[in-house]
């Protein structure tokens, strides 16, 4: 099977998931007891009826759903119920670049540091670099982002004054250092542990021993034979890692005051702004699906067994 067919099949496979996500989030928000206009002070019934008509909430559920889906296909996520001056699409368009920048930077940083750390730990198994790195890894996995973020801001922003505590100016990259590092830390820790375990397993495999027996230098055995195989579980972790980074970005954007999607989502949830929350969740879900797809493609590229046949 050609790789083009593989890519097409995977892309088509993502569509039902997206449909379910859109349907479920629509149904959930419409099931809600009370509407978006339930303020502390009850609105007069005429105003309420006008508002509901303006947002199309007086239509039957099926019509509302049809309109919403048609809008989505045009890239229109509807109006925000609380930010009266912005549509949800505008909020997404303003937040997405920020969130993507820190998310992708964090993932790249995590791969660049986590994988070598894991390889080093595996090669130094049982000695001090291994013990040290693995203690860091356990800490990195157990300490949540919302604890790490304020402590980093306190240490580097307030006490040492090396970096801005919070804020965002376009083009000022020092604003991004703390958010990206915070997001990357748990992924670095997990990748290091995963790489170490997987490489140790591969190094015991018969084909690696065979390569050594043929007298190949240790570096060639490691880089050409062991590492590509050892990286497979690492690649399949990239999907969950993406999910972790996206969830973490809610915290990081809130703490460091970045105007990304995560902060809009949290604001939307606090205001019970249904359309905003739905729109953000759909975009986040789509992002996750795309990045999972990318991870699958890299996996297939590394492991020809999958490319050639059968399901994953």
């Amino acid at each position: 099977m050609s790789s083009l067919a593989f890519v097409t099949r995977r892309l088509l496979g993502a569509i039902p998931t997206l449909v379910i996500i859109v349907t479920l989030s629509f149904l959930l928000t419409r099931l809600a007891p009370g509407g978006p206009f339930d303020e502390e002070q009850a609105l007069p019934p005429e105003i309420r009826a006008n508002l509901e008509a303006a947002y199309g909430l007086d239509q039957p559920m099926a019509v509302q759903f049809g309109r919403y889906v048609m809008g989505l296909l045009r890239g229109d996520f509807g109006p925000s119920f609380k930010f009266r001056d912005f549509t949800v699409s505008e909020l997404i368009a303003s937040g997405l670049p920020v969130s993507l920048t820190i998310g992708i930077a964090a993932l790249l940083l995590a791969i660049a540091l986590g994988v070598p750390a894991g390889v080093w730990a595996a090669l130094a198994r049982g000695r001090w670099p291994d013990r040290l790195l693995m203690s860091f890894a356990v800490a990195g996995i157990s300490v949540p982002v919302f604890v790490v973020a304020p402590f980093l801001a306190l240490a580097f922003g307030i006490w040492l004054r090396w970096l801005p505590v919070a804020g965002w100016a376009p083009g000022r990259s020092s604003d991004l250092v703390l958010p990206v590092v915070t997001l990357a830390l748990p992924v670095i820790a997990y990748l290091a542990r995963l790489t170490r375990g997987s490489l140790l397993e591969v190094l015991r495999a018969p084909w690696v021993r065979a390569a050594r027996a043929r007298g190949l230098p240790g570096r060639t055995v490691l880089l050409r034979h062991a590492l590509p195989a050892a990286l497979l579980p690492v690649v399949s972790y990239l999907g969950p890692a993406t999910a972790a980074v996206l969830a973490g970005s809610l915290v990081v954007e809130t703490i460091f005051g970045l105007p990304g999607m995560g902060r809009h989502l949290v604001q939307g949830a606090l205001n019970r702004d249904y359309t905003l929350v739905m729109g953000m969740v759909i975009v986040y879900a789509a992002l996750m699906i795309v990045l999972n797809l990318l991870a699958d493609l890299v996996y297939a590229w590394l492991d020809p067994r999958i490319r050639r046949g059968g399901r994953s």
Binding site: L24, S25, S142, P144, F146, V147, L246, L250, V281
Partner: protein
């Protein structure tokens, strides 16, 4: 047959330093959360006008200091610990019951019923869980009960998968065959013969689920969409602390330290139990 397994497991666990430390510290934390607030002279929402935002060990009676409103931080942290623990245990119990029932039935029935049931699990698995929990809190309002339901709604998926895999293997064993020959019904076989033999992996995974739930709950409470003031949870205490960290860093350090300790203990204990109860998985 099973008493040997449990004895071995117990011996192995007692030799595991990290797991035993986790267990001991965890017991202290649980006792402190349950009984601690009774031993301190202040209630969790009581305002001490004379001692506002005092650092630890400086004011009489406030061991760990007070927050900006003069509320005792030790009592608030113990209350937060209590709320976080209760929600975590309850949500774990919910996901345990649903997951074990779902997985055991699917694995025992096999065939089309199994395929259908596990397909449903796959679909829920593909959803971005944290975001759907957020939607649920938006829809049903914020509060402990919503959190419990929302977290429980997704927590059972992995448990169902693990249990199903085990059940598929168990149903081929002789004692199940014997029960079938003996005329036992499906429900009886699942409850009396399959489920008891699943206990090992179920205990291990449940222990590892608790810290996950604690983290999700504190994450949402931190963002302001979980447990609400004046009720304290470790998450909203950390959020309060982060807001005041410049002037009162202890407000951040105390609940954060408590949360990290709690998660560490559960993870160490869970890893130890896995080594003890599931020898195949030992690395």
């Amino acid at each position: 047959m099973s008493s040997g397994l449990w004895n071995d497991a117990f011996r192995q666990l007692r030799g595991d330093r990290a797991a035993m430390t986790g267990l001991v510290v965890l017991s202290w934390l649980v006792i402190a959360a349950a009984a601690g607030p009774l031993l301190v002279d202040y209630r969790e929402d009581q305002i001490d006008w004379a001692n506002m935002a005092v650092p630890p060990f400086t004011a009489e009676g406030h061991w760990l200091g007070t927050d900006r409103l003069g509320r005792d931080l030790l009592v608030r942290t113990l209350h937060g610990l209590r709320v976080s623990l209760v929600i975590a245990l309850a949500a774990t119990l919910v996901s345990l019951v649903i997951g074990v029932a779902w997985g055991a039935i699917a694995g025992y029935l096999r065939g089309r019923a199994d395929a259908l049931m596990m397909r449903f699990v796959d679909v829920l698995y593909a959803l971005p869980q944290v975001f759907f929990v957020i939607i649920l809190t938006v829809v049903f309002g914020r509060g402990p009960l919503t959190l419990l339901i929302a977290i429980g709604a997704f927590g059972w998926l992995t448990m169902a998968r693990i249990v199903r895999g085990q059940a598929l293997a168990l149903r081929e064993r002789e004692f199940v065959e014997a029960a079938v020959v003996g005329g036992a019904g499906t429900l009886r076989i699942v409850l009396r013969h399959i489920v008891p033999n699943l206990l090992g992996p179920v205990i291990v995974y449940a222990t590892l689920t608790v810290p996950q739930v604690i983290l999700v709950e504190s994450f949402l409470s931190f963002l302001g969409i979980g447990i609400q003031e004046p009720l304290a949870s470790l998450g909203n205490l950390i959020a309060d602390g982060a807001a005041e960290m410049e002037t009162a860093p202890w407000m951040l350090a105390v609940p954060a330290g408590c949360l990290v300790l709690l998660v560490f203990c559960f993870n160490f204990l869970g890893d130890g139990l896995r080594d003890a109860l599931d020898p195949r998985d030992r690395r």
